[in-house]
């Protein structure tokens, strides 16, 4: 029998992992909900933002907080570029072609990163003390990243609910034909959404680089999980994805401690497959 203290620690780590996954899923879900295209390469954009922060800090000696902000900018620019260069020419193509085009981008980013920066694992080491509460060890770095991730999500929420552009973006995701009749320009909104989604990738990258090492296949490691979370929460459903992220993170973290790391993921994927059949609209969606 496993010492309960490890289980509690696994739960706590699961919550922290959940924050990371929720942040990753949020930007992807925003883009999916509005532009109706799954960016298979989304997590690879996150990896590029991580590289940007890494090089700014280690090569140019930029302070971490400033590099992090720059990373958000890099993410936003990448989001705009992806939309203008890849998505807008195939906006009316069959969904499968769109999926495959961003899949090509995934190959391109992963191998171009290998070409430029080799397969070395790189991370920005932030040495913060480890907290010990009642025998449970929690990394302070992860705690800070978790808090900042929550802040980013709240900012996104306020942007979507309190600003004019945010309201228009939500309107597109509800009915893309009607919004054009209301006088808004969907093309411009798509661009803004891609920029915001890209900026969220930048935020995720800036917060991830202080916890994880980045390497060309970082996107492959976190990508599948991120889609599963979006689908589980209901594609386009922000709140759903947020909770789905924490559920999946718990399964992975606790399953990892109880069985093995791989089996934790296997259980999570199997739960995903089964839930798709039972609740195709996501765990919080209504069946149509």
């Amino acid at each position: 029998m496993i010492d309960p203290i490890f289980l509690v620690e696994a739960v706590v780590n699961g919550v922290l992992l959940g924050g990371v996954l929720a942040l990753l899923a949020l930007g992807l879900n925003l883009i999916f909900g509005v532009v109706d295209i799954v960016w298979i390469a989304y997590v690879d954009l996150v990896a590029l933002a991580m590289y940007a922060v890494y090089f700014l800090v280690t090569l140019y000696g930029v302070p971490l907080w400033l590099a992090g902000l720059a990373g958000i900018g890099v993410g936003a620019v990448l989001g705009v570029l992806v939309h203008l260069l890849i998505i807008s020419p195939i906006l009316t193509s069959p969904p499968i072609n769109q999926l495959l085009a961003t899949g090509g981008l995934l190959f391109f980013i992963q191998s171009f990163a290998t070409l430029l920066w080799s397969t070395d694992h790189r991370s920005v080491r932030v040495t913060l003390p480890t907290l010990e509460v009642a025998g449970i060890f929690v990394s302070f770095t992860r705690l800070v990243a978790f808090a900042l991730a929550l802040v980013a999500m709240i900012v996104l929420y306020l942007f979507l609910t309190r600003t004019y552009t945010g309201t228009a973006i939500r309107a597109v995701s509800q009915d893309r034909e009607a919004i054009a009749l209301m006088g808004a320009r969907p093309q411009r909104l798509y661009l803004v959404t891609s920029a915001v989604g890209g900026a969220m990738a930048g935020v995720a990258g800036a917060l991830l680089i202080i916890q994880y090492a980045v390497h060309p296949y970082f996107g492959a490691a976190f990508g599948p999980l991120t889609f599963m979370i979006c689908v589980l929460g209901g594609l386009g459903n922000m709140v759903g994805a947020f909770f789905a992220a924490f559920i999946m993170a718990q399964v992975i973290s606790v399953g990892g401690v109880l069985v093995s790391t791989e089996m934790g993921y296997v259980i999570a994927f199997v739960i995903f497959i089964v839930l798709i059949f039972v609740r195709p609209g996501g765990i919080f969606g209504r069946r149509t």
Binding site: V38, I86, P89, I90, S93, P94, P95, I96, N97, L99, L100, A101, G103, G104, L105, L106, F107, F108, I109, Q110, S111, F112, A113, T114, L115, S118, P216, A220, P224, F227, M228, V231, L235, S260, E262, M263, Y265, V266, F269, V270, F272, I273, I276, F277, P280
Partner: protein, 331 residues
Amino acid sequence: MSPGRLAAGLGLLVLVLVPVLPLGAAEEYIWHVIIQIFFWSFVGTAWSLMGRFGLVSLGHGAFLGVGAYTSVLLWNLLAMTPWVGGPLAVLLALVLALVVAYPCSRFQVVGHYFALVTLAVGEVVRLLIIAERDWTGGSLGVSLKTAGTASGLWTLQFPDKRVFYYVGLGVWLFGLWVWARVDRSMARSAMEAIGEDETAAAAVGIHVTRFKMGITALSAALTAVGGVLLAQYLAYANPDTLSGIGVSLRIVFAVVLGGMYSLLGPSVGTALTIALSEYLRIYFGIKLIGIAETLYGLALILFIIFLPAGIWGSLAAAWRRRATPARPAPA
């Protein structure tokens, strides 16, 4: 004899003669590349059986991995001949395909959702192979135990590459034959109707679930055959090279590059990608690792935007237009 048939016959003759031609010192290498093209083209053709009807699977690595690992492990652990282990492996892949396909068609999991479910299935298989490392070798992969002096037809191990060359050629032609059979069958019309509108297809009396499961089972079984043969040829199986997302996407992309709606499209795409990566590998050597894949990814994006029917698909369409100029292109 039409020029098309003549060209096909000549091409086939050249392929049959390659192993007897004097190719000098590089002959083993040339055979190796062509053998790989045969096997992967076969797998790509199997994939396109589903893909062309809108059933885009991003998890064919699962069937490939189940096929390869089952037969290799049965041989390694129980000394079971691939003639028994192979069919068992295909059977296992078939069961997996049906277990996934049944709920998918019952609950109308289509489009993005189907792609993501199959993606998850592929990951599950890869992770299980890694997790059961005590007998699968985990992420280090597993080598096929050599049969030594017993190599031959019974063990399906041949030191001579030329044997695998003809096996590959045969299997590839078989794959094309299956593709053409499906193309001319009633199933094709039914599947096309299902791909366009499932509810409407069901309304005119097409048994949606049966057709979908049938085509998925066929595609998965052929893919597993490819997995068994690739493992026999390479004498090695690895969760990343014969299973998982990387392989699954590679299959899909080769097919898309060539064109998934035409008979030779998957083969042309596979041949081009393998030839390109081999060429770049030799040209750049160990410098610039990743350049092949970079160009590959770039080509994919450009192809999907500008040439969605693929290289071969577009060429074939242009040829048909030239041959019959009066007929307007079907919408």
